[in-house]
């Protein structure tokens, strides 16, 4: 490396370094103000009361969420699916705007089902906590347990069947696609059947997700740290965030190292 290149590197570091230090100072001051404010609110029990209210509301909602959300989403997804099917059936095989509309409708449905598949598991878990509280208080919530069980089954069926229908429709539109949602290796087979442009999109999306999770973990780490003192949540939330953060980072770095020796034919 030439002396000029080394000088350019140092110059760029110096220029960005000033912005970095300014950002550090701003974060330090903001963190200080936030910490003092948090302590002030915590002393008066305001934050604890608010957290308790939110926690109770979420626990109550969780009993009914799966059943209600699944029924509503089933209607929404079905309407969008029917619309996309009818537009596709009428497509002449040439008009790009029409097929792009179909693909967009399918993507919207996939996002709805994808997000719901996470929410229903989370709310199921929270619902179990609520039921446990009720049992410990010597109340036997039979109705709530039945509603939760039905909601869980309905959500599971909706998620799997919904994804199956959408994946099969995508395969109808794009016959080169391979893989069944019931296959444990579905994601691998689907990726293998994608062409170079689609793979590039998937990889770019993966990298964007990696960066977003990194940022989210920083924010969650701060919230869990505050939570330790304000809501007395203990060290478990911080540890959980740390585990996710490490897994995210390691998965990326290990894969990057493996790819250094990969042959791209």
């Amino acid at each position: 490396m030439s002396r000029e290149q080394l000088e350019n590197i140092k110059r760029e570091d110096k220029k960005q370094g000033k912005k970095y230090i300014t950002l550090l100072i701003v974060c330090f001051v903001a963190g200080g103000i936030g910490g003092v404010l948090t302590a002030f609110l915590a002393d008066r029990g305001i934050l604890y009361g608010l957290a308790d209210m939110i926690s109770t509301a979420i626990r109550k909602i969780s009993i009914y969420y799966n059943l209600v959300a699944t029924v509503i989403l089933c209607v929404v997804v079905s309407l969008i699916y029917k619309k996309s099917k009818s537009v596709y059936t009428a497509w002449n095989g040439e008009d790009e705007a029409v097929i792009e509309k179909v693909e967009k409708l399918v993507s919207i449905n996939l996002i709805i089902i994808g997000i719901h598949s996470i929410f229903y598991l989370i709310f199921m878990t929270i619902g179990c906590v609520e039921v446990t509280y009720e049992i410990e208080a010597d109340r036997w919530p039979a109705t709530e347990i039945i509603i939760m069980a039905i909601g869980f089954v309905v959500s599971s069926v909706f998620t799997v069947k919904g994804q199956q229908k959408l994946v099969n429709f995508t395969k109808e539109i794009n016959p080169e696609k391979k893989g069944s949602v019931y296959d444990a290796k579905f994601q691998e087979k689907w990726l293998d059947s994608c062409d170079e442009m689609e793979k590039m999109r998937i990889y770019e999306s993966g990298y964007a997700a990696f960066k977003t999770v990194n940022t989210a973990c920083i924010v969650l780490d701060i919230l869990c740290f505050l939570g330790m003192f304000v809501w007395n949540v203990g060290i478990l939330p911080v540890c959980m965030v740390g585990i996710i953060w490490i897994i995210n980072a390691l998965a990326y770095y290990i894969k990057a190292m493996q790819l250094e020796t990969k042959k791209y034919k």
């Binding site: 790009e96 080169e176 994608c194 062409d195 170079e196 442009m197 689609e198």
Partner: protein, 69 residues
């Protein structure tokens, strides 16, 4: 530097739609659409496959902006 292409014209000559073109070169309809719009530059392998379908040279189908002008 933008990559221009005459893929749509060549495709029209042999009378195939985007889906059929994609099948001929093992890519999706979307990729053919993106290439025709200039939103995606194909790899060397894909460009060669496309040229082979039309029995033409890669340079006949794809060109840089300067060469196009």
């Amino acid at each position: 530097m933008p990559l221009y292409n005459h893929l749509k014209e060549y495709r029209a000559k042999i009378g195939v739609n985007q889906q059929e073109m994609g099948s001929l070169v093992d890519v999706s309809r979307q990729t053919i659409s993106q290439i025709e719009r200039g939103d995606y530059s194909p790899s060397v392998t894909l460009a060669l496959k496309i040229a082979k379908v039309f029995d033409a040279k890669v340079e006949d189908i794809f060109a840089y902006e300067e060469e196009e002008n």
